[in-house]
Amino acid sequence: MSPHSEAPLLEVSGLRKSFDLSKPFINRLIERSERQLVRAVDGVDFTIQRGQTLSLVGESGCGKSTVAKLIMGLTRPSGGSIRFEGTELADQSAGKPAPVRRRMQMIFQDPYASLNPRWRVARIIAEPMKSFGTHPDPQARRREVDRLLEFVGLGAADGDKFPHEFSGGQRQRISIARAISTKPEFLVCDEPTSALDVSVQAQILNLMRELQRELGLTYLFISHDLAVVNYISDWIGVMYLGRLVELAPAAQIFANPQHPYTRLLLDTVPDISMVNRDMDRPAGEVPNPITPPPGCHFHPRCAHADARCKAQMPDFIATATGHARCHAVQEGRLSPIAERTALRGVM
């Protein structure tokens, strides 16, 4: 299952998280309804090798952000394990076991919400250093802040300003400066560019690639944008209703998508290369995660679904390119034709 044979930096297996959305006890009693558990993450396995980037893609509600939070200890898993260089993190919350946690940091989606608006930038960037005690001396800390600000493309003088004095892209740079201030080895990036304009998105993506090269960082990258994911990732995992449905090297996913859902995503992404493409759009929406369809969650939207798909959840099996969770792939009912590639050839 591991992309490489050497020991991975992060190893996630059987990760589960459910939320209790049940009605109050009295209502359940009267309406004779069951407890309602939402399985936001339902048995996710992947590993990330040092220095590589794994991306998780999927539509809203697929559980990709929950995975990020579970790994960072922001919420406790209901089951499964998360190992960072062999250290089990699943039962430890954020910030607690400092030695390992210091080596993991996170970049958030919303540059407007991820910086405390009442704090000056220098204080924001210095907080992890202070908290983890990497730079106990305030002056040294400030010098480090100035260095980081310049490193991410801002000026040392910007440390005295408040976040609202910066544009979205600049704020995301501040966020990155904070994230790398404790010299972490692993960064979770939860849609770091989805709130940014396209021209700024490129700046941030380039900065992140640069950081990875210079600092040898390992990324878990969460996004709904396949094109962005394509640019940044080594491996890509596609999630649907709490489960990984396909995991493969980036190039393989785009060239030879296995799972029907991966194919659907690739088909529906608006693409500037596809001027006035006109084709039938697949109908249907992501079902309510409270009441997911039985068997393969994707079967109601899948053209290849048969009786087995409706009844039995497929396993996460090895495929030609990686892993996929699909009976049709397993049974070879799906031809590995790459319509996309064919289409793309037109351009």
Binding site: K23, P24, I26, N27, L29, I30, E31, S60, G61, E285, V286, P287, N288, P289
Partner: protein, 330 residues
Amino acid sequence: MLGFLIRRIIQSVIVMLAVALIAFMMFRFMGDPVNSMVPEHATEQERAEVRERLGLDQPLFVQYGRFIARAATGDFGLSWRNARPVSTLLAERFPATAELVLVAAVLSLVVGIPLGIYTALRPHSFNAQTLQFLSLVGISLPTFVTGILLILVFSVWLGWLPSFGRGEVIDIGWWSTGFLTASGLKALILPSIMLCLFQLTLLMRLVRAEMMEVLRTDYIKFAKARGLSDRAINFRHALRNTLIPVITIFGLQLGGLIAFAIITETVFQWPGMGALFIQAVNFGDVPVMAAYLVLVSFIFVVINTSVDLLYASIDPRLRVDDAGPAGGGH
């Protein structure tokens, strides 16, 4: 809906038990009840007998249980001030307060809501700005000052309206009403104006704020973009969404009216429960205070519960029996 109802009722019962506990504590700790019951020169023996007779020698929770059992039947004992049954006192006073509060509530609704709508729709007009300022004056004027001024002008200078009391009342069963006589109606005017003024301005300001909030929403913008008439937008779309939360406000407001009636009744010598309560506070008349507290709490709880139920039945989003959204729309 049934589940919601049952939960609200359980909550209400807990609230009432807590209020009863406060009332009970008042009995136990605000002066020894035995002292008020035995002659001054009573011996310790006689005191102990009274204690036993009243059950004061039993554990506290037993006493509490008995207190609740008696309270549930409306038995709060005798007023320490005039040795009459507290339940009778309150029953005598209840109609006066109820009628006053009713008239004030209707007045504040009938005047407050239209003014709130008006000022929300024309926020920059001179009239609306003036009203907005006046409403601030309204909530800044102490109600007793308003009452004094009303008496001074309408009773003393102009001599038009009575300055105290309910005028003539007519008994219908145990209920005494001032609605059926001219003097009763006249007597209602000044007190109800005084009582409603604060609530009226409050209601007006709340309706205004709420409506302006609604008028900024996307669905109003979208309604405008569809070319709907101002009338349809303001009254069909905006007003409905405004008035749903106003129901809750009105519930709270009824409670506020009952409480503020204390001041009005004091100023206008209105023979209601509030005046009784103030006298009881002044005299340390615990049974009356406790009973008033329990009765008023009960009224509040009933009002709040009905308002919540009403709210839930009016707002389509809260109708629990409907099916949820078909897909994962969030």
